[in-house]
Structures are given as structure tokens and as C-alpha cells.
Amino acid sequence: MSQNKENFKRGCTEILALYLLCQEDMYGYQITQLFSEKSGGRFTMLEGTLYLVLYKLVDAGYLSTYSKLVGKKRTRKYYHIEPAGREYLQRILHEYDEISLGIALILDRGADTNE
């Protein structure tokens, strides 16, 4: 897999993880599976990359975690988005829209670009 693709994905992981967590609380493996399913297999991700992003969001107070018992012994860690995380998502979504519009304009790819 190309390094460019990895870098693009890494940059988007924060937005995508926060967006999915707005819908329901999820565990790590579930998030990577949803990335893959919803993107038709185009957005697959190694666990390490996802957890690094999740740790940063937890440390920043945008996400919180809680554990649920699975089976008899094992506990599974769920991620929950906090109000600060929802605000942060709106902010970075706006930034994303601005940047992608800018890129589309530069590349002459915008469908409704203002010339």
C-alpha cells in the first residue's frame, strides 16, 4: 500500500471515528470493520493506526471509555463520544470541507466551482 494512501487515511481517521461514534458507542475492532464495510473495502486500517488516534481523542477529553463483560471473563472496551468531541467533530468537518473544496478548485475537479 502506498505511503500517500496511508497518510491520507491517517488524516481522515479522526473525523471518521468521531462520526461513527456519534451514532453509537463502539469497540475498536467494530470501528475498523465499519470503515471497511461502509467504504466497500477501500478504507481498511491496521489496528495500531486506529488505536493511536483513539488514544489521542481520549487524552484530549473528546472520547471516554467503559468496559463491558463479554462471555465469562473477557472485558471489551467501548468508546463513547463526549459533548466536547461532538463540537470538535463539527469544527474539523468544517475544516475538512474547506480544504477539500480548496483542493478541488486547484485541481479543477469541482462540480460547482466558482470561476
Binding site: 475492532y29 493511536l52 472496551k77
Partner: protein, 137 residues
């Protein structure tokens, strides 16, 4: 299922030994990766560890992702702390060993080259005892 779980534990142990970060962070990462692997095994009915390798990468690849994110300064600091602790332990062990050797040599010399641990009480029979007391008188 038990075999694959044991293989998964070994896989996670390899990750733990290759991570360069504080112990608390190490535990958090390995616990989360272990949970993801177990979720993958249970949800997909995986029986062969090679499937885990192809889904998650090798333990070295997983560690490389995490280690790449740790600042070089932090890594340097951790390595220097570990080196200092290691040198400290070696020095302490060497000093204890040296003092033990010196004590043993001194004890050896004190007893004219024999390693005597306690004085021996000489017991005489009653006949010998009377002979000794006669000689003394």
C-alpha cells in the same frame, strides 16, 4: 479454539516485548490489541494464527506503528533510564560480591588458613580428667 487463543497470547506477548514506551502505555496498547484479535477470532471463527497475521500484520509491524509515534526524545530518555538502572544494578551486585569475597578471605586468614566456624570443645573421659588434674597438682 484453545490453541488459537494460546497462539494469540504468544502473538500479543511478542508485541509487548517489542514496544518502546512506558509500562502503563504498553499495557493499554497490548490489552486493546488483544481484545481486537479475540474479537476477530470469535466473530470470524478463526482457527489458524496465520489469519491473524494477515489481518493485523506481524507483531513487529504493529509495534513499528506505535513506536513511530513515540517521540525520539522520549525513546532516548527511556533507553538512557534503562541503561542507568542496568548499570546501577551491575555496580551494586559487583560491590556485594566484592565485599563478600573480602570477608571470606579475611576469615580464612584469621584461622590460619583453615575455615573454622566454631571452637571445638574437647571432652575427656573421667580417667583422663583425673590424670590431668594430678599432673596439674
Amino acid at each position: 479454539m484453545n490453541n488459537i487463543k494460546k497462539d494469540a497470547e504468544a502473538f500479543v506477548a511478542q508485541i509487548k516485548s517489542n514496544l518502546v514506551c512506558p509500562d502503563g502505555e504498553k499495557n493499554r496498547i497490548t490489552k486493546d490489541i488483544e481484545n481486537s484479535i479475540l474479537d476477530y477470532i470469535e466473530e470470524n471463527g478463526v482457527n489458524d494464527i496465520s489469519e491473524v497475521y494477515s489481518q493485523f500484520g506481524t507483531p513487529q509491524e504493529i509495534c513499528a506503528q506505535f513506536n513511530a509515534e513515540v517521540e525520539p526524545k522520549k525513546i532516548k530518555k527511556m533507553i538512557s533510564i534503562r541503561k542507568t538502572v542496568l548499570v546501577g544494578v551491575i555496580v551494586i551486585v559487583a560491590m556485594v560480591a566484592l565485599s563478600l569475597i573480602i570477608t571470606l578471605i579475611d576469615a580464612h586468614k584469621d584461622y590460619g588458613g583453615y575455615g573454622v566456624e566454631s571452637e571445638v570443645e574437647v571432652l575427656h573421659s573421667s580417667e583422663e580428667q583425673s590424670t590431668i588434674s594430678d599432673e596439674e597438682s
